[in-house]
Structure formats: structure tokens, C-alpha cells
Symmetry: none
Subunit: 196 residues, 4 copies
């Protein structure tokens, strides 16, 4: 990759990162291109140099977010850890990521509303991949007879829902910090799986 290409890629990423943050604060329609641009000290026109249209920007932001999340969890999945600890870790990482970015997962809410055919498939695919990461961690536990034989799909979604909801209620000024909250949630959720 030439210097030029690298510069462009970097700029694109900057835009995406900012776009994720603005988008998740104000929502897709609440955010204007003007706004994203001006937060980056650019003009609208420039943003259009890097992205085809607003759709495209939202889409790529979305994909970036999902890919990062997957990387996070995949990272954990390949660690050498007992299965229970591994799932626990994955949950903690996910929650922390959400709380740090404080963002983005709201915009995951209704992808059908904003994307259509070629894009929506990718999104769903990534979402699914993400779910599957957890499925596999659960499956591993069941096979190791550490977890009870639950309905994986349902339990996975309970876990995802409980975790993603955290942005709705967690506040920095409570007595627990992000990590403590993440640990607590993870521990409670494990109760669903642990064999007794």
C-alpha cells in the first residue's frame, strides 16, 4: 500500500470512527452530514470524497463496529482458559467495549430500516457470526459438561440482550465501575448455564 493509499485509509477510518460516535448519539436521521464533517473539521464535500453517500457511511460504520466486536470475542475464544472462564471473559470484554464506545449498539437495533438487500445480508451475516461466537462458547461448555444442555439459540440471545441493554441503565457515577458491572453481569448470566 502506497503512502497515499495509507493516508486515505487512515482518513476513512477517522471518519468512520467519528461517524459511529455521532450516529450512535443522535441516531441515523438525527445526524446530518454537515455535523459529522464539522466534527472532523472537514466540509461535507470532503466526506463525500471518501464515502458514496450517507447510507454507505452508516453501513461501513456499522460493519466496523461489528467486526471489532467479533475480533474482541474471537480473541477471547482462542485463549487457553477453562470454558466457563472463557465465556465469562468474552462477556466482560463485550460489555466493556459497549460501555467504552458508549455507542453503536443502539444503531444496530433496526438494520432493516436503513439497509437493503446487498448490505443487509452482510450485516445479518456479521451479526450472526457474532452470535455464533457465543454459541460456540456455550456449546463447548455443554460438551465439556460444565453447562447444562440448554437451548443454545435462546440462551445466547438472552445473554446478548442482557449485555446490550447495559447502555440503557449504566451510569458512570454509580458506585461500581465499568469492569465491576461487567463482571457482575457475566456472573449472573452464568447461572443460566452452570450445571447444579
Amino acid at each position: 500500500m502506497s503512502l497515499r493509499e495509507r493516508k486515505t485509509a487512515k482518513k476513512k477510518e477517522d471518519i468512520l470512527r467519528m461517524s459511529v460516535s455521532v450516529l450512535s448519539e443522535k441516531g441515523y436521521d438525527g445526524t446530518t452530514m454537515e455535523e459529522i464533517a464539522s466534527k472532523l473539521l472537514m466540509t461535507k464535500g470532503s466526506v463525500y470524497y471518501y464515502f458514496k453517500d450517507k447510507q454507505d457511511l452508516l453501513y461501513q460504520s456499522h460493519v466496523m463496529l461489528l467486526e471489532r466486536s467479533i475480533e474482541n470475542v474471537e480473541g477471547v475464544r482462542h485463549q487457553e482458559l477453562p470454558v466457563k472462564a472463557k465465556l465469562r471473559r468474552a462477556m466482560i470484554v463485550h460489555i466493556e467495549y459497549i460501555l467504552v464506545e458508549r455507542s453503536g449498539f443502539e444503531m444496530m437495533i433496526k438494520p432493516e430500516q436503513y439497509f437493503s438487500s446487498p448490505q443487509i445480508e452482510t450485516i445479518f451475516q456479521l451479526r450472526d457470526d457474532y452470535g455464533i461466537c457465543f454459541d460456540q462458547l456455550i456449546l463447548e461448555g455443554i460438551e465439556a459438561d460444565v453447562f447444562g444442555s440448554v437451548d443454545i439459540k435462546i440462551v445466547r440471545n438472552i445473554i446478548l440482550g442482557a449485555m446490550n441493554w447495559v447502555t440503557q441503565w449504566y451510569s458512570d457515577d454509580g458506585k461500581k465501575d465499568k469492569t465491576e458491572i461487567a463482571e457482575d453481569i457475566a456472573d449472573y448470566l452464568l447461572h443460566i448455564l452452570i450445571k447444579t
Copy 2:
């Protein structure tokens, strides 16, 4: 209340109900007043006769939804049932309601994005009231020594998150119907609370 007044109230409710449904399908910005109106075989102007503006319509829809949810759960809370069964029932009722309204619950996600000061407080109050219903059910269980002594706030939010997330993944054409899914989720979530 006179006949006329009752008719007006009825109309308002019709509009609210439709508005909830369109709004939750297309989102706040994706929904036009035109659309809501035409689905009710009215004209925009008529809708504006009943509601000050789009904001107002959205706000009242939202409030209606929350109030109904509270009624639902309160209804369960006053039933004569063993505490565990009661919480289970409350969860099932909540999930079924969400799935039936398939519904404005997405717009519950970021109220700050759409409402401001005088309204947002009411919304948060109602949300809180709703949460407290569950808190009390949990507390009852703890006091009856049926549930372990969990951190109520965290567990309540895990439960709410897991339940609300259901709109994201449940599909009518799976092999389980709404009630079965609701029961399954409730049962799994009870594992978090049940003393072993």
C-alpha cells in the same frame, strides 16, 4: 363524559395505536405524518387536529405503551401466586406484550434523542416505575428466601434487557410460538435468581 367526548377520546386512541405501530416499524424519522394519517384513512390535517405536532404524537404513543406495560405487570403482581410463579408470569406477560405490539419498544431505546425536558422526565419516571415493579417481585422472592440475595438493580436490568431484546431475534416462523418462547426465556432467567 359526553358521547362526543367519548368519540374524540376513541379517535385519539385510534391514532395513537396506529402511530405506535407505524412508528415502531419505521422509526421516528422514517415515519411521516402523511403515512400515519393515510393508514387511518384520514388526512394529515385531521391528525393535527388531535395532536399538536409529531413530537406530541410520538410522546403520547410512548407514554401509552409504557402505561400499558405497567398495568400488565401490576396486574400480575397482585395475583395470588407463589412468588416464583408470579415473577415468571410477569416476565411472560411482558414478552408476549412486546412481541404482539412488535412495537414501539425500539423507540424506548434512546428517548433522550427524541424528547426533551418536560417530557423526558415523565418517560424516565414511567420507565423507572416499570423497573420497580420487577424490583418488588424480586425483593418479595428474596424475602421469602426463594431467591438468592442478588443485587436487585443489576438483575432487574439483566432481565429487562434479555426480554426486550427478543424483538431483535424472534421470528414467527420458527418452531416455537410466542408463548413458548416467552416461557423458555422466563425459565432461563429464573435460574439467575433461584436458590440452589
Copy 3:
């Protein structure tokens, strides 16, 4: 005129009076039918029973105002007074009327903007009649050799302009009351006419 007719006429006048006052405070476009109606504790519909449309209401308000003004000045014109005192009196009456109604003459400003052919002629006719009242007072003075031989049309308009402008600057909380101001203005204006 039957009782019924008299009642109707009375109601019409009430509406006109209120309409003049609202109209002159908020302007033609700034005033809604709703507003006029509600100030009279009526509904829009009722107002439409008495007046064909908003146009008509404005027009008749306008005419009422002009006719009253003419009556005022005509009243003075037929008094037995020396010509100078008579003109002075007419001016005072006019200014007081304007200040008491605190109204209406602003809406005289651009009749062409609001009225068209059949109506505009009447308005102009009345306006003219009003001007002519003053013209005749001036003429009387010239013929009596009390006033210099001025260009009547110009002087009349100077006088009208100076008088009508008073709503723009007179404030009740100054040290002079309405009558004093009216007298002062009248006296100064007479300087234009008085032979030296």
C-alpha cells in the same frame, strides 16, 4: 327591524369591533379566525355564520373604522366654531380616536394588498371622503382668509400622516396624556396653515 334582526346586527358589530382590535394588533395575516372567535367566546364556525370569509370580515372592519372616523370629523365640521378652532377640534378628535382604539389605522396601510376590485373602490372612496372632510375645513379657512393659500391636497396629507403616525410613538406613560398630545400636535400643524 325585528328583534332577531337586531340581535344579529348586534352580534355582527361585536365581532367587527373585536376583529378590528385583534386585526390591528397582529395584522391581517397574523390573526387567525380561531383567535378572533375565541376572544369572543365563539367558535370559528359561528363567525362564518355572520361573515362570508376572512376577507369580508377585514373589509367590513375596515369600513366600520373609516365610517366612524368620518362621523367623528363630520360631527365637528357642523359645529358652530370659528374655522381655525374647528380644524383644530377635528384634528384632536381624530388623534384621540386613533389613540383610544389604538388600532386599525395600521391596517389601512396597504389596502391594495388585501382587497380587490369591488371592495377596494369603496375603501378608497371612504378614505377620500375622509380626506375631503379635512380639505373642506382647510378650504373654509382659506376662503375666510384665515389660512394661507396652500396646496390643499399636500397639506391635507401632511396633516393625516402626522396624525396617523402618532400610534407609532405615543406612549401612555409619558408625561402628557392623550388629549394634551392631541392638542399639541394640532397646534403645531396649524402653523402650516395660519397666515402670518
Copy 4:
């Protein structure tokens, strides 16, 4: 100021000028943004690029008009002329300006109707400044013992009223042209001031 900036400023002024003219012909509410734009061979959108909203456009038009008027009179005030001639000149200039712009002075009538707090103060300030120009010319005359010792505030307002009213009755097809009318009015008004 760069070329670009100058171009922008020019465009803004063009819009203002056109807006003044349309506004004064049709009144605030009678004028649509569409109309202003199309007279400038622009689209509505473009006008909004330069002005925040209709309010803003009207406001700035108004201010421009007032500022120009002040400049006009100030220009005269600093000429080397005998005081009586100077006031006469100022009046003529004012009347001519009004008749040429045939314009926006109607909207001077009820600024409270269209503007509110931050704007209205500026408007009133400018109006006042304008009045003060005349006050000073009058004062000069009194001090030079050319004018009698009149109540300046009242006389100033008589003069302004008489002059501003001219748009109501002057018609190009009469036998006198704008300048002649202006001179006549000025001369008559001087009678109020001149010592005898």
C-alpha cells in the same frame, strides 16, 4: 476580504435588496420565499444557504433599510449649509428615498408584530437613532435662533409621520414629480419650526 467573500457578500446584498422590494410590495406574510428566490433566478434552497430563515431575511432587510436611511440623513447633517436649508435637505432626501424604494417602510409600521426580543431592540435602536438625527437638526436650529423653541420630540414625530405617509398617497402620474413633492412637503413642514 477575499474575492469569494466579496462575492458572497454581494449575493447576500442582492437577496436583501430584492427581499426589501418584494416584501414592501406584498407584505411579510404575502411574500413567499419561493417568490423572492425566483425573482432572483435562484431556488428556495439557495436563499436558505444565505439566510437562516424568513425571519432572518426580513430582519436583515429591515436593518439595511434603516441603516441606509440613517446614512442618507447623516450625510446631509454634515454638509456645510445654513441650518434651515440643512433640515430642508434632510427631509427631501428622506422623502425621495422612501418614494424610490417605495418600500419596506410599510413594514416599519409594526415591528413588534414580526420581530422579537433580540431583534426588536436593534430595530428600535436604529429607529431611535434615525429620529435623533432629526432631533439634532431641529436643536441646531433652535440654538441658532432660527427655529422657535418647540417640543422637539413632538415636532420630530410630526415631521416623520408626514414624510412617511407620502407612500400612501403619492402617485407618479400626478403633475408633480418626486422631487417637487418632496420640496413642497419640506417647505410646509418648515412652517412649524420657523420663527415669525
